[in-house]
């Protein structure tokens, strides 16, 4: 029987609650956003006692469904001030699901200054002294927990920037290889730090199997679904071979690769850090792995283990957005330098998108020379990682750096850094950045699929026509998919192969023993998206917040010399559903 763990830090209790009927078929983003919307006052201070941090595995997490091992974390974001859901791979989603933990709600604030480790077991949560872990960065915390328990222990942790409540702080999750995946965006690590939780350990001893109401239906649908993943060229071949970084060259050719803090749309040295180069680099070194999964049961394997020329581990989960941010937008041409900075961001526990975008603004400000990978690595470890005064200005995000240095080319929406696709030359993604409930977030409605990659049809990236509808439909569908525990890359086959989405919905219906159509599933996405929007409105956001920074209208970006040219009324049409 699934249950909800309600962890109250004010009186250090954990109540094990029954799952309300209306939450029974929810999971992931649908559940974290529903709980945050129901229980968190929208106007509360995100770092104050009224905010809550909610973890929920996806609807299908812990089952045999391929690619379903992602955990959602939700709260009011201290970076954006909006509702936030950030999902990650690792091991905890499957642990929670198999332990029957539908959600863990962390509320209140400890009365004293003592740092805590929450220890989650089948019976509930205990409150352990974490004073020996304070000041440690993430890999040391993971090592200490592996030593204290064993390698099977699930770990969610924050580094020093999280302890100090810097707004780029993430929540790091141990992956099956004892490395790190991240609830990256929106500063959820600062929320965890505000509640004095250094680390959460998960002991799944006694966990059973996730209950499936209709096993035959589930098995049949799971087979169709997995076949779709393997048959589609993006998930079956492109992603496993080159990783997400395959996008560097295609965005460069299309003129949508933001370069030198969004000044240009193409970068001369693009091939030095491209996915093709990264593949050849890893394949040519001892101990390198070009394929790697972020959770058990992933059949796409888009991650990798990146090593140096002697075969020593540098990083894993080295994503396009991070490589773009460092290698292109900061002009750091050495891929090994970029990999070391990525690893440093994992270790200190900051979002590697926000971290890379803010460094480019710091370079524009003259804090770090353009292209200086060694100095960037030092700044990560010694300034942001140690929360020096400069580190705090930087570690509070892209908007903070721009404000501190009086700059106008500050790529943020709702104070969250804009990732790796220029909205002037890929206009659909600009609509997503402007309007998503999450602050600038490419995954919230990934129009790149259709604007650039010709997946799910084609909408010309340089014209305004069709972009609002494209972004709206993808934002609704993504909200639904983010609730399943599925990796968002299942969308590539789902957009092209007609059997995939019905198979996904059939698995959910079979899991819970309910009737569910594709329309019901998408309708759930629309309902949750509107609920998130209503939370933001109640928190004080208006249509005027759904805008891109002015510089996108004023500065044409080569090679297409495109500007952002949507009127406010055109943008607001996204919400007409």
């Amino acid at each position: 029987m699934d249950k909800i763990f309600r962890v109250n830090l004010s009186d250090l209790t954990c109540k094990v609650e029954e799952v309300p009927a209306e939450y029974a078929t929810l999971g992931g983003r649908a559940l974290t956003s529903t709980i945050v919307a129901a229980e968190v006052p929208p106007t509360c201070h995100p770092l104050g006692p009224n905010n809550k941090l909610v973890f929920a595995p996806g609807m299908l997490s812990g089952t045999a469904a391929a690619n379903s091992g992602r955990m959602s974390a939700g709260a009011k974001s201290p970076l954006t001030g909006t509702i936030k859901e950030s999902n990650a791979g690792g091991t905890t989603a499957q642990q929670f699901a198999k332990m029957g933990i539908k959600a863990m709600i962390i509320e209140g604030m400890p009365k004293d200054d003592k740092w805590l480790r929450l220890h989650v077991t089948m019976d509930g949560v205990t409150f352990e002294d974490a004073s020996d872990l304070v000041g440690k960065q993430n890999f040391d915390v993971i090592d200490a927990m592996n030593e204290k328990f064993d390698k099977k222990i699930g770990v969610m942790t924050i580094g020093r920037p999280g302890e100090e409540r810097l707004l780029s702080a993430n929540i790091s999750v141990k992956d099956p290889d004892q490395k790190i995946r991240s609830h990256g965006r929106g500063g959820l690590g600062a929320v965890m730090g505000s509640k004095k939780i250094k680390c959460i350990t998960v002991d799944a001893t006694g966990a059973g199997k996730v209950e499936i109401k209709d096993t035959e239906k589930f098995r049949a649908a799971a087979k169709v679904f997995a076949k779709g993943m393997l048959d589609h060229p993006v998930t079956g071949e492109g992603l496993p071979t080159y990783g997400t970084n395959v996008l560097i060259n295609i965005l460069n050719e299309a003129g949508g690769l933001p370069t030198k803090n969004f000044k240009y749309g193409q970068c001369e040295h693009h091939d030095k850090v491209s996915g093709e180069t990264m593949h050849d680099t890893i394949a040519g070194r001892p101990n390198g792995h070009t394929k790697h999964g972020c959770h058990a049961g992933c059949i796409i394997q888009c991650s990798q283990v990146y090593v140096d020329d002697k075969g020593e581990y540098i990083t894993s989960g080295f994503e396009y957005e991070t490589v773009w941010g460092l290698g292109i937008n900061c002009l750091i041409e050495d891929l090994d330098d970029c990999a070391r900075i990525d690893n440093a961001m994992d270790n200190i526990g900051i979002d590697s998108i926000e971290g890379a975008v803010l460094i480019a603004v710091a370079m524009e400000a003259g804090v770090i020379p353009w292209g200086d990978g060694k100095e960037t690595l030092r700044v990560m470890n010694e300034e942001i990682g140690k929360c020096t005064p400069l580190g705090r200005i930087l570690g509070n995000g892209t908007g903070s750096v721009g404000a501190a240095y009086g700059l106008t080319r500050v790529p943020v929406v709702k104070n969250q850094g804009i990732p790796a696709y220029d909205p002037r030359s890929v206009k659909g993604i600009g609509i997503t950045y402007a309007t998503t409930t999450m602050g600038a977030d490419h995954t919230a409605g990934y129009t790149i699929a259709t604007n650039i990659l010709k997946v799910g049809g084609f909408v010309d990236p340089l014209t305004k026509e069709g972009q609002v509808e494209l972004s709206r439909n993808l934002q609704i569908a993504t909200t639904a998919v983010d609730s399943t525990g599925m990796c968002i890359f299942v969308a590539f086959p789902a957009l092209d192969i007609p059997e995939v989405l019905p198979a996904l919905v059939d698995m959910i219906a079979a899991r819970f023993g309910v009737e569910m159509s594709v329309d019901d599933f998408v309708g759930m996405g629309a309902k949750i998206l509107k609920m998130e929007k209503a939370f933001n409105t109640a928190a004080g956001f208006t249509a005027e917040d759904d805008r891109l920074p002015e510089f996108f209208e004023l500065e044409p970006i080569p090679p297409h010399n495109a500007v952002w040219d949507f009127s406010p009324a055109e943008i607001d049409e996204v919400w007409n559903f």
Binding site: G238, E319, S425, L453
Partner: protein
Amino acid sequence: MKITVKLFAGFRDNRFKMAEQDYPEATTVGDILSSLNIERPELGVALINGRHVLPEHVMVDGQTLSLFPKVGGG
């Protein structure tokens, strides 16, 4: 006429990264794919000057054609 062809991702396997090649007048993108033994369904995206083009597109002397298999990420 001279056409520069740039290949990406798996299209580079056993072919090349970039090559300037001679083609007859009125050559289409599809003709170039055939000359490279790339089947139409393998093509993800073809770009000229940062704009998407279809296999029917007729090439002009001096143009650069960038060819990608079906790839994605994000």
